[in-house]
């Protein structure tokens, strides 16, 4: 609505005179001369510029365009990648047996609510490419004599923990919504690479893109450009705490043989805390699972070299591995854990006693096949931006925080950022604030960090605790901690409740 091309060819002094003339003119019409920079170039104004069109950036664009208070604001979405045909959902619909993509997300209930509010969830549901997780079965490699699955988290039907959806499908649904919004402009193949963030709110932010002569001016720059965010480093006073886990996530799409009598067949997420790191199988349908196998760099490289059949064997071995089960110290640890479980049971009598008494006899699933070319691996790391916001700038998603995928929270945290930021902007704009108002942004930062940081530390803690090779800690102690950790989960329904509420991202 307020888009206006301004060709600044005149000198700075000329502009100043212009400005004064305008100021004194009776109709008080102001043009965007706020950010008079030294260079003369073409600048195009958008109320909001979003850098990075991943799941989080796209959801941000949709959400903002749906806010009543922001209606009519111009939004520019800059995506470094191409306009991929995978986002074409019709193609997906027409070929029902089209193989699943190897990148999937466990989408929590609060994320579903966000996607619903922007009309994307209905599209995903119509495609039928969302699969509810009704039970989560967790076990570890040191399960010892008890063997089998030692932790089961069950979720009521109408209160599903999460849905497994392919990232492509989410992106496709979001792009479909974006294309229907007139006030959103998308530029593909456009990498942002330089920013001029103002010191005061009197000036606008300027965004420059790689090898483009146009630069953009905006009242609010939102960085959703992933964990290597460029926007993040442009924020003044930024401190980024980050490290790489010496681990990679190996992903693949698998066929599994599941127990026909399993009530939750096709809706069970499996997670094993193996020696080298957690292995998760996320259900896509009765027979298909998406694998996220966290392992050491060396092991990931070795796995990459294997043929598909060798890979399946290695995975099955890892799922059923009991490497240290005849180690006496481990048995001790196991006993200690059981004693603790008994003690806890005594004091934690709870309303879902049935579930606790239910005999857990499930066995790990057996992988029988693998979808061709579905194997890939990704580096893993931890990252936390101390400043989510600055003058006319805010970060959302992985640009602000990066976590280990073991709890499947990455994109969910990002979606919560979207909801939070959008609410804050909506409120502040209704009371006459500039869309880039620092107070509103600071409110967003406080709320988002208050929610994200504990989850990030928790996940990092679990990673460290189970985190495979820790040579400094004797294996027996590690196993003890693991077992105790898991047994507490299993026994204490309060903790269990807490865990599942946190994992589904809803306020407890």
């Amino acid at each position: 609505m307020y888009q206006r091309m301004i060709f600044i060819s005149s000198s700075r002094t000329h502009l100043k005179t212009n400005m004064m003339l305008l100021n004194s003119s009776a109709n008080r019409l102001h043009l965007s001369l706020g950010n008079v920079s030294n260079y003369s170039s073409r600048k195009k104004y958008y109320d909001i510029v979003i850098a990075g069109g991943g799941m989080v950036g796209c959801a941000m664009a949709c959400k903002l365009s749906k806010e009543a208070a922001l209606s009519g604001m111009s939004i520019l979405l800059l995506e470094g990648g191409p306009n991929r045909k995978e986002y074409d959902l019709f193609a997906k619909k027409n070929t029902l047996d089209k193989p699943y993509s190897n990148r999937v997300s466990a989408v929590s209930k609060s994320s579903v609510q966000l996607l619903q509010s922007i009309g994307a969830w209905q599209i995903i549901e119509d495609l039928g490419r969302n699969n509810a997780v009704k039970e989560m079965r967790i076990w570890n490699s040191g399960a010892g004599r008890s063997g089998g699955i030692n932790n089961v988290l069950t979720f009521d039907n109408d209160n599903d923990l999460a849905y497994i959806v392919e990232n492509d499908t989410i992106l496709g649904a979001l792009f479909k919504q974006i294309n229907e919004e007139q006030n959103i402009t998308v530029n593909y193949d456009t990498r942002v690479n330089q920013f001029n963030l103002p010191d005061s709110n009197r000036d606008l932010a300027t965004v420059q893109v790689a090898n483009g002569e146009i630069s953009f001016e905006t009242s609010l720059l939102i960085g959703s450009d992933g964990y290597g965010s460029k926007v993040r480093s442009a924020i003044s006073g930024q401190q980024y705490i980050g490290w790489e886990y010496s681990q990679r996530a190996v992903v693949a799409t698998l066929h599994i043989q599941s127990d026909e009598d399993d009530t939750y067949k096709g809706h069970v997420a499996w997670q094993k805390f193996a020696q080298l790191g957690p292995v998760a199988l996320l259900p896509l349908d009765d027979k298909t699972c998406s694998l996220v196998w966290t392992t050491s760099y060396e092991e990931a490289n070795r796995l990459a070299e294997l043929s598909d059949n060798e890979f399946i064997d290695a995975l099955n071995d890892s799922l059923s591995e009991e490497k240290e089960s005849n180690n006496t110290s481990l048995l001790l640890a196991d006993d200690a854990a059981h004693i603790l479980a008994k003690v806890l049971n005594k004091y934690c009598q709870s309303n879902d006693e049935n579930k606790q008494n239910k005999k857990i006899k499930s066995i790990p699933p057996i992988v029988v096949g693998l979808i061709k070319d579905s194997r890939a691996s990704f580096p893993l790391g931890f990252g936390h931006a101390c400043q989510y916001v600055g003058q006319r700038v805010a970060l959302v998603g992985d640009a602000a925080h990066r976590i280990h995928p073991l709890a499947g929270q990455g994109v969910n945290l990002g979606f919560s950022d979207v909801t939070e930021l959008s609410n804050q902007l909506n409120q502040s704009v209704l009371t006459g604030a500039d869309i880039g108002d620092l107070n509103a942004l600071l409110n967003y930062q406080t709320a988002a960090q208050r929610r994200n940081v504990p989850i990030m530390l928790g996940v990092d803690g679990i990673q460290k605790m189970y985190g495979s090779k820790n040579n400094l800690v004797p294996p027996a102690i590690t196993t003890l901690i693991r077992n105790v950790g898991l047994t507490i989960c299993q026994s204490a329904s309060i903790v269990k409740k807490l865990l599942s509420d946190k994992a589904s991202g809803l306020p407890v």
């Binding site: 307020y2 206006r4 400005m19 100021n23 008080r28 019409l29 102001h30 043009l31 965007s32 001369l33 706020g34 009543a68 208070a69 922001l70 209606s71 005061s200 709110n201 009197r202 000036d203 606008l204 409120q427 502040s428 704009v429 209704l430 009371t431 006459g432 604030a433 500039d434 108002d437 620092l438 107070n439 600071l442």
Partner: protein, 273 residues
């Protein structure tokens, strides 16, 4: 560390605020000399800076104004709950300073005039208003007395926020404000109360703990809600619509509504038709 920074910020803010507002209205306040501050612009418009209490006050005072005007049926139905809520409403911001509130009102499409007796502040306000696009905002460097001469009964709403406590002749100031208001128009005031409580917190705690420099506020100049109400009702032909208590937390820089008007309050009155 943070605390000290906050304290300095707050004390700066009150200091600057005082120097800027003390020469308030040319006729209604004994003119004090304005202390020139080297980078005043920075002070007014840095929302994380010394005047952050005024910036963070905006959401509350703007919604107070919107709600007041909605209750008086002045806001067009189609604009309720949008960012055009003040469309076609003529507003005068008396003592607009650097324009923190003025701009907010203009951004939600109010037709806003800001006046302030300080030339320097009007310059800052004008300079900053460049950021607004196609909005109706105009500033004049004049007092309410001067403004009232040529603007009788021409505004739908008059706003005077955190100003009255610096004005000596409240009666003169308020009657001139009301002169500019159309019959049926609304007056919105926010100001600290004159109570033991505000004396304790502003003068004793604030100033002895150095949150606020000594002598910033002349507590005797503060006005109680009932005094304000009686001037408005007996001398200005107004009816009081509402009085709401306000509180401010300097550590989180947040304002909130409270039941008690002991510290500070917002008043809405309407000029009789």
């Amino acid at each position: 560390m943070n605390l000290i920074a906050k304290k300095t910020n707050i004390s700066n803010s009150f200091f600057i605020f005082r120097t800027l507002t003390q020469n308030y209205v040319k006729e209604t306040v004994n003119a004090h000399e304005v202390e020139h501050h080297s980078n005043m612009k920075e002070y007014w418009w840095n929302s994380n800076g010394p005047l952050n209490a005024l910036h963070s006050f905006n959401p509350l005072r703007v919604s107070f104004i919107i709600n007041g005007l909605t209750n008086m049926k002045k806001i067009e139905t189609k604009n309720i709950g949008t960012r055009q809520s003040l469309e076609n409403i003529k507003i005068l911001d008396v003592g607009c300073g650097g324009g923190i509130l003025t701009e907010a009102l203009a951004r939600i499409d109010g037709n806003v005039t800001g006046i302030d007796p300080s030339k320097e502040l009007i310059t800052i306000a004008n300079d900053h208003s460049v950021i607004l696009r196609n909005k109706n905002i105009i500033y004049f460097n004049e007092s309410i007395e001067e403004h009232a001469l040529s603007n009788t009964e021409s505004y739908d709403a008059i706003v005077t926020s955190e100003v009255l406590e610096h004005v000596s002749n409240k009666y003169g100031f308020l009657t001139k404000c009301i002169d500019c208001l159309k019959p049926g128009g609304s007056l919105f005031v926010t100001t600290p109360n004159r109570t033991i409580c505000s004396w304790l917190s502003v003068i004793v705690l604030g100033e002895t703990l150095n949150f606020i420099p000594k002598g910033t506020h002349e507590w005797e100049k503060f006005i109680c809600p009932h005094e304000l109400q009686s001037i408005l009702e007996n001398n200005c032909e107004c009816d009081t619509i509402s009085i709401n208590g306000l509180s401010y937390d300097p550590f989180t820089n947040r304002w909130s509504w409270t039941d008690s008007t002991d510290l500070s309050y917002a008043l809405h009155a309407v000029k009789r038709i």
